[in-house]
Structures are given as C-alpha cells and as structure tokens.
C-alpha cells in the first residue's frame, strides 16, 4: 500500500480548499448523502437549465480529505454537462473505483481524467472507497430526484 498515492497533492489541495462548497441559489434538484461509519454528510445542490444542462452545482458537508476532494473534483467536472452526460461520467467513475483500471468516457478530456485518477488510490483502502464515492452516489440521487438519503454503508 502506498499512502503517497492516496494522499496526492491534488487530493490534499481539494480536501483543504474544496471548490463549490456552498449552496446554489435557486437549485432545482438536491439530495443528501450519509456515511454512518464516519458520520460524514454531504448535501448536493444542482441547478439544471431548461436543456437539462448543469447550470450550477455545489455541495455542503464535512468529511475526510478523500470525500471532500472527491466532491470538489466532481462538482468542478460536471458543470456545463447535460444530465445524461453527468450520469455517464458518474458511472465511469464508479466503475473505475470499483474494478476498472481506467476511465473510458469520451466526455472527459485528458486533464480531467488525470484529476479523477488521483482518487484511484483508495482502491487499496477498501474502507475508504465509500469516502470517495459518497458524493457521486448522492449526485445520482439528486438527478433521479429520489427522496431517500444515500447511505454508503449498504
């Protein structure tokens, strides 16, 4: 295992200074996520325009470096994408964290992929995978408008 891979500079940076940590005005979709193991909470706010494009996305919550960095990078990446595209990116990310070696989506440019791959260090830390995926599951829930609280324990 390699702590250096887990805590890369970019993770530490996003963890310490998360982008989009605020509440979008006039958001039209949102969802809450919760990790009962560590007590981490995240609340994702989405504003889709009439073309279902992400006009704004933000989040509130607190958590470890991994979960904050993951939410921060995620919110940066999906702004401007369409709903269907967002879902594709989420799936791609979750697949990578779970089993795949790489990201495959053509919706992401190399720079974006590199950023996301920084999170792949958690693969060696099974108990921390949930930290990296919580905000992503919550984003899906927000898009699907499902009312349930996302719970990464299950």
């Amino acid at each position: 295992m390699n702590l250096k891979e887990l805590y890369q500079e970019i993770i530490l940076d996003h963890g310490k200074n998360p982008r989009n940590l605020r509440k979008t005005d006039n958001y039209n979709k949102d969802a809450k996520g919760h990790n009962p193991l560590c007590g981490d909470n995240v609340h994702v706010f989405l504003k889709l325009d009439e073309n279902k494009k992400v006009d704004d996305i933000s989040f509130e919550g607190s958590g470890c470096a991994i979960s904050m960095a993951s939410a921060s990078i995620m919110t940066d990446l999906v702004r401007g994408k369409e709903e269907a595209e967002v879902k594709e990116i989420v799936t791609d990310f979750l697949d990578m964290i779970k089993e795949k070696d790489d990201l495959n989506s053509k919706l992401l440019n190399d720079d974006e992929k590199t950023k996301l791959m920084c999170l792949s260090g958690v693969k060696q830390y099974p108990m921390r995978v949930k930290c990296a995926t919580l905000s992503w599951h919550t984003l899906t829930s927000a898009i699907d408008n499902s009312q349930e609280v996302i719970n990464t324990e299950s």
């Binding site: 919760h34 009962p36 560590c38 830390y125 921390r128 299950s154």
Partner: protein, 406 residues
Amino acid sequence: MNIDDIKKEFPIFDNKIHNNDLVYLDSANSSQKPKIVLDRIYDFYSKEFSNVGRSVHYLAVAATNLYENTRVSVQKYINAQDKNEIVFTKGATEAINLIANTFGQKYLDEGDEVLITELEHHSNYVPWHFLRKSKNIKIEFAEINDDGEITLEAIKTKITDKTKIICITHLSNVTGAILPIKEIVNLAHSKGIPVLVDGCQGAPHLKLDMQDLGCDFYAISGHKMYGPTGIGVLYAKKKWLEDLPPYQGGGGMIREVKKKGISYGDLPNKYEAGTMATAQVIAFNESIKFMETIGIENIEKHEKELLDYAIDVLGKNNSINIVGNPKNKGGVISFTIEGIHPHDIATILDEDGVAIRAGHHCCQILHDKLGLPATARASFGVYNTKEDIDQLNASLNNCKKIFNLK
C-alpha cells in the same frame, strides 16, 4: 462418503465417557463441532481479531470482510435472493422472537390469530404467547394426526379470516415429521398470509432452498449445524425486513441519531444492533463449508439409512414404543419403554457412554397431546454410525435388565 473419516474430524470423539466410547445421539439438542470450526475460532482470535464495521484499521477491515463472507455463504447455502436477507442473531429462538416482536407490533391486533402447530417447540410458541398477553390476539394449534404428522389439511382447517401469520416447524424435534412447507406456503400465500418456518431441525438435515420453499421467514440455530454456540440466522424476505420496525436498538443499526429522533440504517444493519457474535459468525462459515463439502444430499442419505436401521432395530425390541410414525421423517426417534421412565433410561444409557435426551424436549403441548409426560429421544448427526444404533439397543436392553423387564 466414509463416515469413519468424518467422525475423525470431530475431536470430541477422542474422549472417553465413563471409560466408554462416546455414542452421541443428542444432535437435535446440539451437534458436535468439527475441528475446522474450532481452528477457525482460535485463528480468528489469535491472528485477526477486531470489532466489525466500526474502525478503519487493518484488523477491523479484515474482520468485517470475514463477517460479511459468512453472510454470503449462508445466502448461497439456503438460496436466498439477496445477502441482506440474512440477519445474524444469537440463535433461532432470538430469530423467532425478533419476528414475533416486530411483526406483532405492526400487524397484530386484538382478535387476530396466529396459527401454529401442536408440534412446535416452545421457542415457536412462547414468543407468540407474549402477544396474546399484550395485544389480546389468539393462538390456534393445527393438530397432529395419529402418525405425529401435520398435514396440509390440518393447517387448512384452522385458517380463518383472522389468521395473520402461520408459524410452523420444518422438522419436528420429537416425532421427526417433516412438514409439507411448500404446500403450506402456497396455501397461505393464496390467502395473503405470511409463513414463518422454525428451521432448527430442518437446516442441519435437509436441503434448503428459500426460492423453492417460498416461506417469508426461516429461523436457524448455528449450534445444531456443526457451528458454534451463540449464533443463529434469521432469513427474511427483503420486503419484510424493509417493512418491519427494528428489534433491538444500539450501535451499528442507526443512520442518524439526534436528540429529537433517530433514523435507522439499511439492511441488514437495521437488525444487527450492538457488537455481534463476530467470532461465531466467522467460524460458522466453516460449518457451512463442512456441510457443503460432504454435500447435504449425502448427509440426508446417510441419516435416512441410520433412521431406517434404527427403526428396524428398535422396532424389533418389543418393549420399545416409538412415538409417531410420519411417512416423511428426519433422523429423530422419540420412544418410551413401558415401566421405565425416560429419565432413568437416560441415566443408565449414559453409563455406557450413550448420550440421549429425556424429557419433553421443549414440546409440552405435544407431550400433553400424546399423554406422555416425557419421552426418551435419540437423534442423529452426520458422525453417527450403525454401530451407534447397535450400542443404543444393547444399552436399552441393559436398562430393561436393571428394571427386571423382559
């Protein structure tokens, strides 16, 4: 399958009882444990121990994975649809109490009926009796026939508009009767009634397939399945576990806890409050593997042979009356000897190293019905042999001699 080899896997048989080999015929009470189960407990505590699901350090991760592995093994072993339909309890008794309590809270009201049978173990009666007191419900008993069986018909007769749940044993721990679960479930479901099966005696001896049986709840005790004490399984269909309230409250089963209110965790955590029997759950995986390695079909076949042999041998011993004569019967023989009380039989047999049980076997309703205050019971496990039956018979003859019977 070579049964002598299997017996060697159980360290208990290396011991002498009153200078005799142990002839263990009390497996319906609790089974002996193979070495791999004991080794697993030892290894877990000495190499991998940690509390489950609460810390992120190495040992905690390892323990949590091992714990969850058993859940998956049980799921596969009983063919449940989802691993979260497997809830660990401290035993079958707790599993039944869990359902009686939560189902009772939500679905039983004054005048409602719970249908059980005259074959039920106290564990599948007393928890329902509590609701008789707190909610004024009724308990109906499906009656046995002369062979000590419960037929589909016996159940049908007792179902009314008020019947809210049917709770039946898979295999009687006294007569050995195997109930027609699938047919009963079909009948019950056609009337919208859920079915709970007390699988204590079913699980160690019969092939289990929840999809085929179709029951809503199935309760298992690990210690009767070559596993450790202190571990049981409640199988429940997901829709029920999602629908019913939690049973015990504590760490691990919550989502969010505030001064004003509490929300509960997802399945199966919702039903696993507090520190669980971690080591026992982990070792229980080895019991499942042990049974899988032999093959439940082979276990069934072996025990059936023993049963047939025992019925033959004891049947020829003219003082012995076997209780019940079910067509479909598992490896349990309860019997009496006119003129010798079962307790005296058990004491005398013990001197020869033959361990049987005497009493009402937690089935007083059945014993009342049969007009017998007590019976003697020999019950089989995979390690038993025909020699064990021969020894049983010889020791029974010794009883008769001591009591001056012919």
